[in-house]
Symmetry: C2
Subunit: 220 residues, 2 copies
């Protein structure tokens, strides 16, 4: 982590800016972008765009804007996406396998998605030795050795809720520093580990709050 004091709210917006720039670079006909336009496409105000980027350096010129290719390359460097990272996924159930396919496809299609899924882990002996989206399934007992051998620092957890905490601790003890957690369980981990919770149950329950009451009775 090179910029210790940057708030996570800022970090969260950087991949959104990067996506806008990636799209522009694909179309190829816009060498420059104003903070106004970048903000509009990213869904934030132009002042916030300028403030966010100013944390990391002077990327734009007043009255001219940002060079798309330059800012894109800088953002990829800031986000550590300028080189490949090995990633593993634990829990090769239907959600795990679907996410594996998703991640492999993104890695092939998206230059700024330099996260390489190199192994799936599952406790089911029938799955071990198989491969999904070209990624082999290994036994749980092999996990720690695999993480160390392949310098894995990022992992995706798609195991049942009651297994998640133990798996997470094993990952962290072997060197994992960032976890995307799909298990509907709160992970308690050391402060140097970054966790993103993709807890779909909580998201859906939250959305229900915003439904109009009394209009959604089930039909008989």
């Amino acid at each position: 982590m090179r910029w210790n004091k940057i708030s996570d709210a800022v970090v969260r917006r950087l991949p959104i800016y990067l996506r806008v720039l990636d799209d522009l670079a694909k179309s190829g006909d816009t060498p420059l972008i104003s903070s106004q336009e970048l903000g509009e496409k990213a869904g934030v105000g132009s002042a916030l765009v300028r403030k966010d980027l100013a944390w990391f350096g002077e990327f734009g010129k007043q009255g001219v804007g940002y060079e798309v290719e330059y800012l894109r390359s800088e953002l990829r460097q800031i986000l550590n996406l300028d080189r490949e990272h090995n990633v593993i996924l634990v829990g090769a159930g239907s959600l795990g396998v679907a996410l594996a396919r998703y991640a492999v496809r993104r890695c092939q299609e998206d230059e700024s998605f330099s996260l390489k899924l190199i192994g799936l882990f599952d406790q089911d002996p029938d799955k071990v030795g198989r491969a999904y989206a070209g990624v082999p399934v290994y036994a749980m007992a092999e996990m720690e050795g695999f993480i160390r051998k392949h310098n894995v620092r990022m992992a995706i957890i798609t195991v049942p809720a009651d297994a998640a905490q133990e798996i997470a601790l094993r990952l962290v003890e072997s060197g994992v520093r960032a976890i995307l957690n799909f298990a509907p369980a709160k992970l308690i981990l050391p402060g140097h580990v970054q966790v993103a919770n993709a807890d779909l149950t909580l998201e859906l329950q939250r959305l229900a709050y915003y439904l109009p009451p009394g209009q959604t009775e089930p039909q008989g």
Copy 2:
């Protein structure tokens, strides 16, 4: 929406509190919980627990705490989870099908997950007429009529990025008010529609920021 001024940050924590109470109710031996204990299990401070809940009423007694079953039932009512909601999912690819399985399982196992997935929609004619996890796949042309007929107010989008915005508009025009969006695309929708973005690409790219630089070179 019965409490218009409650911030989404508060609403986001309610399902976490509810989960703690659900777990306690399952174990059955704790009729009361203090804000301290509820906070610890939910991963927030006890003062915040009290403040969050106070938005909705007086649920606890000073020095005594909250009655687990009572608070649980109140939270389910606040979150609109005290009755069933019909939900559809658009895009029955591998991620969509995995999420369908997940949602159906949650609905069976979790009393507080009263979201009933009743239809999948896909443009692939080979999929239409099939069923996954017991949920039938319908043609895209049937979507609007289905939403109106079954009073669907919530939808999950798992279509490719370039189709997401158009699909979302069709959903909203037919009456959908809450969308869980897995497509890596920003949806632009009217203010009365609540969107939760489960954008796994952005989450993973954000996590990469926190990786130690220089220690994760790919192996030869």
